[in-house]
Amino acid sequence: MDMVRNEVRQLNPEQYTETKALDHASQQARQRNYQDFLIVDVDAHHYESESYKDVFSYIENPVIKMEAMDSMTRAGRSGFLNNQVGYQSLGGRMTRHKNRAFFKARGDRHRDVDWTLDWMDAMGVDYSCMFPTPMLFLGLHPQVEIEVALCRAYNHWLCERILAQEPRIVSMLYLPFNDPEWAYRTVRDFGDKKGVVGFMVTSPRYKPVHDNAYMKTYALLQEMGKPISFHAAYSWDDRALATTNRFISVHSLGFMWFNMIHMTNWVVNGIPERFPKLKTMWIESGLTWAYCLMQRLDHSYMMRTSDCPQLKRKPSEYMQDMYYSSQPMEVPDDLSILEATFKMIKAETQLVWSSDYPHWDFDLPSVIYDLPFLKEQAKRNILGANAARLFNLDSKPVKTIP
């Protein structure tokens, strides 16, 4: 029950906390009794760039480490790491991106642990899968060895400074996919670390997922029972996307584009037949792309089975065995369209809720919980039980909603 409240507030950014900023999310959590069941967020973020000095200290190669450390002293000039043009904060309309600078850690643990737990509790989340932010573009770095070096440094840092400190925060670790041998070694070296529930490929990159060089990595992931995920992002440097002139355009298309390509290559080349127990997840492309691609591939497959002779079923049937993170969930005015999408991807068992918090288009659990066409058990599956099964998490709720 909410307490009876009577107050007049002024806006004071210096008093910003996640608990205050997400007070309305906590109201939703209490009204919907989230304390009674598990909620797992399979895609959330922190800003690892705020900890680069610390992360860079984990770089193993001494030459690259020296270059990285030196780059810290020349902010604003040519960078050691690549980045993307973008204005997610909409000119400051999303105030949390600026105001979070006022957040203060409470104890000895890394600031990101306290900050993450605060927003998780406010939303009613029990476990959250933490991903980086600027590193989502690292697959476009022209120097493959930099991707490898930073990936390993970040993974070491994340395991030691975050995952080992807080059991409610887990991660699917970054795979340096542009170097297949180092991708394999990353799974081998980090697969058993505390809080590592899988591995993640950042989607903006130009490597075909069906290249023979990746087969031993897929085999190892399958053997370890760890899922592989493809986390979407955009590239405004992509030749086609470079013709767009607004962030809404490059974001709407880019976050689907790379995953549509990887999914097509993944299915057409029979990866699900070669590794039938390898669990695969597609992150942050929304849902409409899958609904579209299933129909598109099935239609062509019936005429061109000779193009994909490894397949024993229609492409959509393989896609229905995969997992999809929900955010940014497109919610049309006509909910029967969304209901059809849920049916197409077998949402009750394959859809896993994600917030993408604190990014600009984050979703709350209510985006699933308030859908009128879902039964209570289906809601609970999507919000937590499906992910708990995928990540092998305890199903008992552990959050404290403010």
Partner: protein, 120 residues
């Protein structure tokens, strides 16, 4: 319907606002260009604190007479943006800019002497 005290009029500068909480109600009260406006603080999108974001004028694409594009500028309409996701609302009407069929609940504001009240 009860009147809830907002602030003394002399305390509110142009562009200032207060969030009035009364039981289950949260209302954002704005003072802008000599007028008071009050709306529900729950965004029509995801329930975010709609009245707690920035005030910003509408953005306009400048087109020439031959329909060629010249650039962008700000127009005269004042909007406020929900800080969660950027849903924008017309300050004068509470209408959601992306779909004007959607609007925030509007509340009456009354001034008694130097004191401002919102009727909830």
């Amino acid at each position: 319907m009860p009147e809830c005290f907002v602030a003394k009029a002399s305390e509110l500068k142009d562009g200032d606002r207060r969030i009035v909480v009364s039981g289950p109600h949260e209302v954002g009260v704005f003072f802008k260009d000599g007028d008071y406006y009050a709306y529900s603080n729950y965004c029509v999108h995801a329930g975010g604190p709609a009245c707690e974001g920035i005030l910003v004028n509408n953005v306009v694409d400048i087109l020439n007479g031959d329909q060629t594009y010249e650039g962008q500028t700000f127009g005269d309409a004042v909007h406020f943006a929900c800080p969660w996701h950027g849903y924008e609302y017309d300050l004068k009407t509470g209408e959601c800019i992306g779909d004007r069929k959607l609007r925030l609940r509007k509340y009456n504001v009354v001034k008694r002497g130097d004191e401002i009240f919102v009727v909830i």
